[in-house]
Symmetry: D2
């Protein structure tokens, strides 16, 4: 009953198999190998973007940091939601790579609205040389609270950005879960909706550790390569990153795993009616949910061996909090339905 | 006959097996897992340094960059050999992470001597606030030209550094090959010889992609963790890095592979007598060798399908060069004796 | 009637005279001159801090940036008020010099309260390696809205910082105006109240362009010197910076000018009763005031040639705003009482 | 007899007068004042470059750092002579502002030759993504050893740079002295000879502290403004920088002072025949000279109160050196002929 994160789960057997296959014999290093060429093309095909610059890295933090760095200058501001991963969970990696400043935008359920975004842009633009310049926008889908931007909501934000000349990055650490939730294609959620750069996540969704940075403007590709190398992120035995991404794209595995993870969260939401006093803190639309649980329900689950994060702080703080405990539940592709049932049962008492 | 680099070779089966084993079930992320704890302890045991700070990353460039960044300030100079990997092959990663400046020291066969090092330190110290300050020394064993610093040579350099209050880093991308060549222990080549920080390489020696940063002063450990995270190098599914390093240390596999690789180079050196006009450009002591070959010998090998780098530039430049071609030959753990024989045969004609 | 800023005013004749005097003959460069030694000592005497590290720079932005950089690491957060100068008006200079991240704290009248500060520190500390680390606190006195922290309020903030191990910086671009308003000594407003580092401003208060960075821990002094040089802020003809600061400290000129400036604002506040519909937006306590004026009153003043900034945006935006216009009025040491009267008369109509 | 540097001399009375004049009344800050507009235009007129971006800063280090930063990316290399000021005397400021790496080129008398430059560019270009990319060239006129590049020599270097697509910066800390030596116009020594960016120095030549950054491509101007602000180098009372530069350009004062300084060095060279055993270390062509003096001659001068730097190290090291002492002599605009005679007399004994 480990619901702590989708990065606690195992690698999908087809991904692991691809890694084994890539290990046969010698291959040229630093991405100059056939496995890499094929995986890049697979990502381009998935995004219907045959010209896009595509490079692979091993963590989501650096995927975001590199993508943003390629969009801005060091005296720019990057607009993001107050609880964005780039703001809260990357220890300053976006600033380290881009030197830009994050400018926080509020909004319910971890989603920026177009009006709040525009107000923030206008305020920044008003300071002339004294303030950082409006530089780019980054949004996350699915969001850090488990909600999902619709295609129309994305378009509303990219329209605002475009009106002010700003490129838009999508943090897709859980990109597949968003596509699964929206029933849309990668292209529809990105360049067709006005997105310029994507962190296309594999790690949280059944890979060992691989993310693709996708820049729809191929002119930025050389900068991406050089920034990656300078950050120490160019793998010499690059084929092992690429093999993961290749298998991930192959035969819709990326979507299949996301659908499985989302289905487990849907099962949990359905079963929540059986847990008296439980309520959603944000409307969960994919594989990640925030709930407020009666304290005794939460304690029963932990006593039964469940693992998940509570807020604020960790489980040690529970005794100090109120009648409800805020819990974050994440399902990954591998989670069996029985685990969800067991969790619900523990909560229900 | 791929002798282009030791990073073209495959992962050792025992390493790959460990990765598979680590994939069973769930594990907490970001290094908070048992596989990681065990691998850290294995490295500490290998170095006879039970208190050392040990963290894992996926590339040698970032291992060097992080280790150096933990030793210096942004207004420091780092003394290294003119052809050091940190100077020539990391696209500025050491400067990106540390903000320090590399100060180049000359020396035959890619080895700094203590006098040249001291002269460079004194010259830098002479400029007061106008110049960068002497900050640290970094040396590479085995060197970028395939030569090996003896323990006495290392000690001579660390003595100079110590006399000027400078910590010393060892770039050990081919650490195991140096130990194998010297017949010494990891402790003897490092802290017992005055080294403060090590990049302990696994990638070039049969791993998929893992290096350990070892700081013998554990007080620097928290900074290392934070710098790694800020650089986007903290893996969420960290167990897969750790599993490689654990297996690498287990049962002397790290040394066994290095000895195999060195043995292939020794075989090649022995056979070189059969190649008229061939001569070593530097005295090869481990698994890496620079040779000057008669042009026709080189051309026969390439025609036979051999792969290795020539200098300056790549093979395309060969036609412009002189009667001899400078060739870099690298053997990895997996290279069969037959490949070496085939290469020698092609050269000999 | 130029009330746009205290940096629009002239240099005080005694400051200018000191610059002329310093020009006699040759002097050694880079601060190795008698004028500089004397000025450093004058600042130490003013702060009753005979051991403090004191260095001079030409702008307030770099004084803040250097002081903060000496207090934090690149992976730290610096807590400041949402409208702090370091956040809004320095185009990222604090981040450029320190690499740290500004963390914004709310509070009425541009003042942080201890509870809001502590909450922000706790939230940052809660994220472990994933977030930037609590690093330092910076506050501004007088504040960016013309209000003044009392000594008790400063102490309440430094107590919180101290409890969490954080040093505290005081942005004193208008330090003298705060001292004049509080009737306290520089020592009372700084180290006696728990402040570790000060930007002691001269430029806005009758100097040509000089600020002193004061670090009460002299152990940080060498780092300050090196950071200043590396930022290109070490003047070769340094005596001209120092001469200003020496004259500024001499005979209480710094305080005399601030009292004059504050008196003009007091005069304006008193006269405001004559302007129907005018009201203070924040309680002005020194030489800077934010007012909401009826539109017609504002328009009369501009028609009469008055200069001051309106918010948001500049005067061109006035037509789009509501019935009131928010105006920022700043008095410098040179402002004659007649100008204040003329402004009030224009407003009153 | 202070020949330590041209930055030990006083400000020219016409410069000081201009500063006094600028102090009359109020002026808008941050360069939005008439004095600044006029001074910018004066520099443009001097360079016959009516469209050039021109900004003023207070030190030569930041002028160089900002100019270079506007020409390169963080993963670039900047080619400069081994003893360039940017390499030896700016404590890493160029790297701090640009993040680029300096690549050192050898050459006699502190001058790069086109062949050495081209070899360095080719070597850097050869490393692909593994090395920093060729980014820009910077040269200094007059050089750090007092020699002067002819217009043909400058053109030879800019031709090489242009052939590789690299922009060229001229460090003109002693720009006026070079123009005076060559008898050429500022335009002839810069854009007409293929230079893209200039640090046009005033500080060493009779100003208080002002340098102009001149970018002949005006499209880079906004970046220059933002980088300057972010570095904390935008003066609020900007008119005092501008007044210096305006007076410096007015009526050929810049050239007049340089000619005076150069004449003193010519006088010294002529008189050197009277000093037995004295010899020039480099051919002095402007106001700066390196000489090797018999030890007793040097000691007589110091005993008589002369001030100048000796190498390596300072005068304290003299006793350890050989029969000759290497001395650096610099004349500024204010140096009377009598001082030069006195120095020669002391040397001659």
């Amino acid at each position: 009953m480990n619901f702590a994160s989708d990065n606690t789960g195992p690698v999908h057997p087809r991904i692991m198999e691809a890694v084994m296959v890539a290990n046969a014999g010698s291959a040229m290093p630093y991405g100059n190998d056939d496995t890499t060429r094929a995986a890049r093309d697979a990502v381009r095909a998935l995004f219907e973007a045959p010209e896009a610059a595509v490079e692979f890295v091993a963590t989501g933090s650096v995927a975001n940091a590199l993508a943003l760095a390629c969009l801005v200058t060091p005296w720019d501001g990057v607009f993001c939601h107050r609880v964005a991963h780039v703001e809260e969970d990357e220890c300053g990696a976006p600033e380290f790579y881009s030197n830009a400043k994050l400018i926080l935008v509020d909004g319910d359920d971890a989603k920026m609205g177009p009006d709040a975004l525009e107000a923030a842009i206008l305020q920044a633009a008003d300071r002339g040389v004294h303030g950082v310049q409006p530089g780019a926008v980054t949004l996350t889908n699915i969001t850090e609270r488990g909600t999902v931007y619709t295609l129309a909501e994305i378009r509303a934000l990219t329209d605002v950005a475009r009106a002010h000349g700003l490129p838009v990055h999508l943090d897709g650490a859980r990109f597949a879960n968003a596509c699964a939730a929206l029933g849309c294609s990668p292209a529809e959620m990105t360049w067709k909706a006005g997105i310029d750069a994507v962190s296309f996540g594999g790690t949280k969704n059944g890979c060992m550790g691989v993310e693709a940075v996708v820049l729809f403007d191929p002119a930025r590709g050389r900068e991406l390569e050089l920034r990656r190398k300078r950050g120490g992120h160019l793998f010499s035995k690059h084929r092992f990153l690429s093999a993961q991404m290749g298998a991930y794209c192959e035969g819709g595995l990326w979507l299949e795993m996301a659908e499985a993870a989302n289905a487990r969260m849907a099962q949990l939401l359905q079963g929540l009616a059986r847990v008296p006093g439980a309520r959603m803190a944000h409307p969960a639309a994919a594989n990640l949910g925030y709930l407020d649980l009666p304290r005794d329900a939460h304690e029963r689950a932990f006593a039964a061996g469940a693992k998940y994060y509570t807020y604020p702080g960790d489980a040690m703080d529970v005794a100090q909090a109120g009648a409800h405990v805020r819990c974050r539940i994440v399902c990954d592709w591998s989670k069996p339905a029985e685990d969800v049932e067991a969790l619900l049962a523990a909560w229900a008492g």
